[in-house]
Amino acid sequence: MKERALRIGKPTPLIGIASEPDNFNPDLPAVLILNSGVMHHVGTCRLSVKIARAIADKGLLVVRFDFSGIGDSEPRRGALSFEESSIAETREVMDYLQKTRGISQFILYGLCSGADASYCTGLADERVVGMMKIDPYCYRTWQYSLRYYVPLLFHMDRWQSFLSKKIARVVGGKKDKAPNEIAGVDEQYFEVPTYTRRFPPRDQVAEGLRKLVARDVSVFVAFTGGEPEYLYLNQYRQSFRDVDFRNLLRVDYYPEANHIITQLDYQPRIVAGIADWVLNVARGRIANPDANKTAAA
């Protein structure tokens, strides 16, 4: 495996790192690793580097790059929102790899906002054949409510906290604290992503997932214990009962891991799981490049 720095696009290039396998095969999908929030392409806790190297060691090209204005990529002029530019720039990297390396299939990886960008780009571009998302959009089920509210009954402090927040919102119009207020840092010295994360309506996402399934896109979603809207392994499947994923969906749940996975003992497990899944998807694609009915689950 070798690594190479990339400058993609003019006049303001996107900066990225290609992890190139020893035996490069353009018939295999390449993997693109997207930014999480304002963290640069090294990824939270250096996870993007570890994932990229693990996948490249299995024979696939991996590119982790910074969206414009994030990390090592300078801001670009234009009026596109992050939601729009993240799709456009991911496609730009795909165009670049298609032109320079002859790659026509891509698997996208992202955590949090990177997961959202993976999903949106996957819907917009048919070259996307797989997506691996950590803490992506998720939706509550009746079991979620049961698991969330019942324990409240047995913990007076949680109950009081829950009620006081609800009352404060209704009576005083109290809003959630801004990130800088939670951090206790003056706003002028604290930068947070411009992208405000809002989960689209569930039916809209279900429709999007059906489109992806119709294109045989393999989807691997993993949830951490840091995602408060997700409480048990099968929540994703249950919240999308109206989507027939066939064998295209894998769901993992890491309740002991937090959102940015600072637990070092957890990281190798997650990295290996992603690399193995990507390899299975890639093998399925190369075995059946047209119909692509085979996928990892």
Binding site: G37, H40, C45, V185, V192, E256, T262
Partner: protein, 262 residues
């Protein structure tokens, strides 16, 4: 910004070179990152510092030590603090050879300041050293991290813990990064108080807050004819971790460093 790999071909280091955006000076600046989550959180501030310096005509190189960031390897591969000191040397040589500048300044933040200070003391070709909220020695840094771990409160209502711990093999797990026993042992040998960067012409100790350790270093270094101490009050918790990905931009210190480069 020009990303590049440099150094040993078998174990390359990643750096980002920023050419001058004003009349070029015959001078370059090497930026040395802190460690771990602090590295992640300082990336934005370093990018801004690099940009401001380039607008003053400096050639700037910020780089990742081996086993960190985009550089090759992993800290678990037996990397030591001495390796990082050597990496500062490689970065200095790279900037000097690729741009032809005569004068080099080295800036380090937190653990990066300790590494930079010791690296500069071992050379005779560095013109300016800037230590920003420096870690004074390896023992102090270990103590700080271990203290943070022991002060940590269990997560509320059974949520995931941070995973911060001191494991049985002697590694410190801290906010998603590992400081191995081997690295710790090598780091303990480093001390800014003992480092004598006598050949460095100018030294700036830029601090965002007052702390006893900063005063100790001032006492140790103030006899140096080019030494200056500057307090630029600003937030300084580089280990702050949240779910929003919020990061510090302590403008007063960044500006103090840029101003010191005149």
């Amino acid at each position: 910004m020009i990303p590049q790999f440099f150094g040993n071909a078998d174990a390359p280091l990643y750096g980002v070179y920023l050419p001058p955006k004003a009349t070029p000076r015959d001078a370059g600046v090497v930026l040395c990152y802190p460690f771990g989550q602090e590295y992640m959180r300082a990336h934005r501030a370093y990018r801004q510092l690099a940009l401001l310096l380039s607008k003053k005509g400096y050639h700037v190189l910020r780089f990742d030590y081996r086993g960190t960031g985009d550089s090759s390897g992993d800290i678990e591969d037996g990397v030591t603090a001495q390796d990082w000191i050597d990496d500062v040397g490689l970065a200095v040589n790279e900037l000097r050879e690729s741009t032809g500048v005569s004068s080099i300044a080295v800036v380090g933040l937190r653990l990066g300041a300790l590494i930079a200070g010791v690296a500069c003391a071992a050379r005779n070709d560095i013109d300016q050293l800037i230590v920003w909220d420096p870690i004074l020695d390896g023992f102090e840094y270990e103590h700080e991290l271990l203290q943070e771990i022991s002060n940590e409160k269990p997560s509320m209502w059974g949520g995931p813990s941070s995973g911060n711990l001191h494991d049985t093999e002697g590694s410190i797990h801290f906010n998603g990064f590992r400081l191995t026993q081997k690295f710790r042992e090598s780091m303990r040998k480093l001390s800014l108080r003992d480092a004598r960067p006598t050949t460095v012409k100018k030294i700036l100790q830029a601090v965002s807050h007052e702390a006893p350790g900063f005063t100790d270093l001032k006492a140790a270094w103030q006899s140096h004819p080019g030494y200056r101490y500057q307090l630029a009050p600003a937030p300084h918790d580089w280990n702050y971790v949240d779910n929003f990905g919020g990061i510090l931009l302590p403008q007063p210190v960044i500006q103090a460093i840029v101003n010191a480069m005149d």
